[in-house]
């Protein structure tokens, strides 16, 4: 798994690539919490994520809760069909704000 964090127009964009599984979810969690800690809106770009499991989903949930708790927001962008399947299984597809792409998220002033 790789990741890249950048800021654009006051929004933190974190892009993951590869597999967010039991091996990598601790790192993903750490990165996500760091981003949320910046107290700005966070966009998680999942376009490069080929696989995500329950531990990866748990990291996303934790980051979302932290963001909401701090009065900020966290949205998911470019969710692949397989990642979408996992979110649906976890009944979390309605919990997360899911947008088509990072560009759309920035236009909308996320």
């Amino acid at each position: 798994m790789h990741h890249e964090v950048r800021e654009e127009g006051g929004t933190v964009i974190v892009a993951f690539e590869g597999e967010i599984d039991l091996e990598h979810s601790p790192k993903a969690r750490e990165v996500l919490l760091e981003c949320v800690g910046r107290a700005r809106p966070v966009l998680v770009d999942l376009s490069g994520v080929e696989y995500i499991d329950s531990s990866g989903v748990a990291s996303l949930v934790e980051a979302l809760q932290q963001a909401k708790g701090g009065g900020s927001s966290l949205a998911l962008a470019s969710v692949s069909p397989s990642a979408m399947r996992v979110l649906e299984l976890a009944r979390l597809d309605k919990v997360f704000t899911i947008i088509a792409s990072v560009a759309e998220g920035l236009d909308g002033g996320a």
């Binding site: 597999e19 599984d21 039991l22 091996e23 696989y51 499991d53 329950s54 531990s55 989903v57 748990a58 949930v61 397989s82 399947r85 996992v86 299984l89 976890a90 009944r91 979390l92």
Partner: protein
């Protein structure tokens, strides 16, 4: 009872009771600014504070009550005192502790007797200045103890449902020998404190008892599950399932192979629910297992079980039961039915024929049957199936809020009529158990194995064996190997994704829970295909895990770590269950997915 030796409490009016001295300054330390005042704090308040502390500290209530009684007697300056508890079932009051010149602990009075009885009955304080003028006074107590009672003061200990006991003081030693209003107030306050402590202790005991009963129920359920036959081997012509409505079940089934390849089977339903039904179930199931090895007629077998149950019947309980012997070689079976829900024969061409039973259930009376026992029906399966089930299935509620009835159940059977008997029983039970139901659900299905042999090869093909160390880093490689083997077997992409994800979650549970806190051992993954169904066997070498861990995660709100993964597994696969642990220990998890 009677821990206190009695008779030794010296009562000196005005003396500060021993229990009022600060014996444990560490636990009673007053706030710094109040230290001086706390020392001066005396009389009834100090006594109350001291008693409350003792009750809170005490693990055993009786010694604390005895100490409390000693303190009260001393505080008020009475000659003697006694503490009484109500035994509602016997309508009696029992002296739990006594202080004074004679020991009366253990003495019993009827609730109608004595001043103390009146105190409890009326749940009100009693003050009697001269007992000789009160006809209610129980002289028998004085006669037994040799004491002379002149005046009495008695306060109830009250619980939620009236008095649970009383504290009685006898003969004031000071002044004119009559108890005062202030004595009564002190006694009343102290009795309240004692009754609170008593109520708390009883509640704690009841909670512990409840926990113990729950644990025993779980053990009973475990034993019951062990009574049911172990998982049948692939291709076996009989498959059955039981889903209890409560912890323990009143339903049961069994099947066992007899010499010559025949199979004896039964399914029964014990009247009532709960523990007594479960015990009768265990008895009936044991009788069946034992007798079916020697009695080769189901009708006579049921008659023998009937006589045995009727001889030892209790409280009008009875058992409905269908029993039979199946010959896989010919596809023929003999069935006898003791008052059970009619089994359904489902011919290959379609439709259903109920096998009606007109005979009474087991365990009601002996001598009702002809010598040859219950009548038998002979059924040729001719490529069809036979379903035996408990009325829990027909009484489940359909989407329309109406009970399924035989017709509703038949519609569900029809949906699975092309499946193997294993898949059919699993599928029907999964459907019915998802409906609202109040009773135990049990279903046993028999297929004509000659027909299933022509329907498919039924052979099991080994697709993959992959062994790896139970660490997170190995999961990626496992997923790749599994996905490739599934692709080679012709599984389409969405099914591949689902299976890989479910197996990944199962492996995570092994890594995080089964081997938790231990050096990781190996996991061995075996992938098999049987017709249009793949099975993943996941074997680890960790200490056995509780199979009930699969029960968590059913709740949609459950996103606890581990719970989410378990839910994924269950939603992604058609069946997830623990199998009999393999030789050499460890756990064996079975994950099944239909490819179509």
């Amino acid at each position: 009872m009677g821990r206190w030796a009695g008779g030794s409490c010296r009562v000196l009016g005005g003396d500060r009771p021993k229990s009022m001295t600060r014996e444990q300054p560490t636990t009673t330390g007053a706030p710094p600014g109040l230290a001086g005042k706390a020392e001066e704090f005396s009389g009834p308040f100090a006594l109350l504070a001291d008693m409350t502390r003792r009750f809170a500290d005490s693990l055993e209530l009786t010694p604390a009550l005895v100490t409390a009684l000693e303190s009260i007697v001393s505080q008020v300056g009475a000659e003697a005192g006694s503490l009484w508890l109500v035994e509602p079932a016997a309508r009696e009051i029992v002296c739990e502790a006594s202080v004074g010149p004679s020991e009366i602990a253990g003495l019993r009075l009827s609730l109608d007797q004595g001043i103390v009885g009146r105190c409890v009955r009326e749940n009100a304080c009693q003050s009697v200045l001269d007992v000789s003028k009160d006809p209610a006074f129980a002289k028998s107590v004085d006669e037994g103890s040799g004491m002379v009672t002149r005046s009495l003061l008695c306060a109830p200990m009250s619980g939620a449902d009236g008095a649970i006991g009383a504290i009685e003081l006898v003969n004031r030693m000071e002044g004119d020998g009559c108890f005062t209003v202030s004595d009564l107030n002190v006694l009343e306050v102290l009795a309240s404190s004692a009754s609170l402590a008593l109520a708390n202790a009883r509640m704690a005991t009841a909670a512990a008892e409840h926990k113990r009963v729950q644990r025993e129920l779980e053990l009973a359920a475990e034993i019951q599950r062990a009574l049911l036959p172990a998982v049948d081997s692939p291709g076996f012509p009989i498959h059955a399932l039981n889903v209890p409505a409560r912890t323990v079940s009143g339903d049961f089934f069994d099947f066992l192979e007899l010499p010559g390849g025949r199979i004896a089977f039964c399914l029964g339903d014990v009247s009532g629910k709960g523990m007594n039904a479960a015990l009768l179930m265990a008895k009936t199931a044991s009788l069946f297992r034992c007798l079916s090895k020697t009695i080769d007629s189901p009708g006579r077998l049921l008659a023998v079980i009937n006589d045995e149950l009727a001889d030892t019947a209790s409280r009008g309980m009875f058992v409905t039961m269908a029993a039979g012997i199946y010959e896989p070689e010919t596809g023929g079976l003999v069935l006898a039915n003791a008052g059970h829900e009619p089994p359904l024969y489902h011919p290959r061409e379609g439709g259903f024929e109920p096998i009606e039973a007109l005979e009474p259930p087991l365990g009601i009376a002996t001598g009702l049957l002809p010598p040859e026992g219950y009548p038998e029906s002979r059924i040729e399966l001719n490529g069809g199936n036979l379903f035996v089930f408990s009325d829990g299935l027909t009484e489940a509620f359909g989407q329309d809020g109406e009970q399924l009835g035989a017709a509703g159940l038949e519609r569900i059977f029809e949906e699975f009529s092309e499946a193997s008997i294993h898949d059919c029983v699993e599928g029907v039970m999964s459907r019915v158990s998802s409906l609202e139901h109040r009773d135990d659900l049990t279903l046993l299905g028999i297929e004509d194995s000659r027909a299933s042999a022509t329907r498919s090869s039924d052979s099991v093909e080994l697709l993959l064996v992959h062994r790896f160390e139970a660490i997170a880093k190995e999961l990626s490689g496992m997923r790749k190997a599994l996905a490739e083997a599934l692709a080679a077997a012709g599984a389409d992409e969405s099914i591949r994704t689902d299976i890989v994800m479910a197996v990944d979650e199962a492996c995570q549970n092994v890594i995080r829970h089964a081997y938790s806190g231990k050096p990781p051992g190996d996991v061995e993954l075996t992938l098999e295909q049987r017709n249009a169904e793949v099975t993943v066997w996941l074997r680890d070498f960790a200490p056995p895990v509780d199979p009930a861990c699969l029960d968590q995660g059913r709740d949609l709100a459950d996103v606890r770590p581990g719970g989410l993964g378990t839910r994924f597994m269950k939603e992604l696969m058609d069946d997830v269950s623990f199998a009999e642990p393999p030789e050499g220990g460890g756990n064996l998890l079975r994950l099944v997915k239909r490819l179509s």
